[in-house]
Amino acid sequence: MKCKEFKYFLLGCENPDQPPADVKAHLASCADCQDWQNRLALIELNVPFLPVPESAARSALLRRILSQPAHVRTKETKTALAEQTVSGSEAAPSEPKPSKLISTVGSEQRDSRTRRGMRIWAVIRDMEPSARRYATGAVAAAILLVIFAWTVIRTPQRPIANIATNSRLTSDPLVATILQRDLRLAEAENAADRFRALALLADDFSDEVKNLAPLPEAREVLDDMVTKYEKVVNGGLVEVAKDLPGGERVKLLNEVGDRLHKTGREVEELGVKLSPRIPKASRDTLQRLSQIAYDGDKKLRDLREVSVRRPENALPSVSTVLVQKERP
């Protein structure tokens, strides 16, 4: 198939982000089709949020259903259903009555469920007393298992950031976290506090990138996050590191440098792990973040060496730490 055919196929797909294996194979090798798929997935994602025009049809339909007595609704609908069954597809009812159909189907399902429940109970009642105890226990266990399963499924997942916020669309944990970092910077009275706050801010972005990376449609958001990460590392962290006071300078540079290096390695590994599932652009973005983190670590290490050459920082312990923390 040509790219054009793949694109048409994706257009007709119910879930363009989960295409069949042969389409997946093509997508893995074709960046253009990958972009197309991502755009489609994003459109699919946004459709439920489109405003819909107001309509009185729903309330009118409900009024129609509720205005009829229950037995009339059931009887009429049964008749309509019978007519449909007899005449087959050739004879459609003269006037469609969806409300009646819904009512009948609902009540029949309820009847069927009740009958099934009664049958199970009758079977249990007819058993030997010992078998009856087992059966009752089994039914109770099944009910409890269903309740447990339901509880586990319904348990809300942990939010992505450390701040305990709910997961409503309006409440953005990243905004709340970054604002807290800004407030910490606003309160910081020295370079060391500012450096620590910026390191946390950088971690916030790398954590967010790691969280969003598995989503193929997050490509553009990831790119934006990595750009912000770069600003924080190069425009903030490295700049403030130059003002760090002598006493804790090396310790802080080591600590944050190690964190940057760890982030670089983790994101690199994540990129490799996710590579079959995410678009090439996302992989490149992860690689970019990884490189920024490694470069940031190197810049901090260079500053540490400068601090060693400074006479006021030439403490005996400094050179020891340097030897220990040097990377291969």
């Binding site: 949020f49 500012r194 598995p214 425009g235």
Partner: protein, 172 residues
């Protein structure tokens, strides 16, 4: 009896199994992407402010930068109110309160305590506080109009803004 005990133990076991599962590191859903896209500009402003704050060694400069960010938040709140998104307006209102209280007022109050009344520094503090007022006063007026159909959210929002205003120490 023995069977009942066994059954109960089995149930307790299942319950423990169900509840003892470690929290999974959940991948956020696609709605997180929408949220991130929606707040892209705001996050950009927060980062820019953070970098400015990191460079500012003077408290009054930091208070000014917080005021700049508060202005951006006020614009976002106004936008949320115009969009009839009361939840978002309240959420951002709380952020604005935090920023004015712990960013602007805290720095100004600390600075005031170190300089005598009537000093040039004191005048600077008053000017920055007045800037904060110029951010919140029109917001209160605008919100009253934009959120008149959602009085509950409006009252919550006005409360947080008033509380933020009250955190400024006014010189006698």
């Amino acid at each position: 009896m023995k069977r009942n005990v066994s059954l109960s133990l089995l149930m307790i076991g299942f319950a423990a199994l169900a509840t003892a599962q470690p929290p999974q590191s959940a991948t956020p859903g696609p709605e997180r992407i929408l949220q991130a896209q929606r707040n892209q500009k705001l996050v950009e402003k927060l980062v820019a402010s953070g970098l400015s704050l990191a460079r500012a060694t003077d408290r009054l400069d930091r208070a000014k930068y917080c005021n700049d960010l508060a202005r951006s938040l006020a614009d976002e709140i106004k936008q949320a109110a115009d969009d009839h998104d009361g939840d978002r307006a309240i959420e951002l209102g709380r952020h604005l309160q935090d920023l004015l209280k712990n960013g602007v007022a805290a720095n100004l109050n600390k600075e005031r305590s170190q300089f005598p009344q009537g000093s040039a520094r004191e005048t600077d503090c008053t000017r920055i506080r007045d800037d904060s007022d110029r951010i919140t006063a029109p917001l209160i007026t605008d919100l009253a109009e934009a959120m008149k159909d959602n009085p509950v959210a409006l009252n919550q929002l006005l409360d947080v803004i008033q509380e933020a205003k009250a955190s400024f120490i006014r010189p006698d």
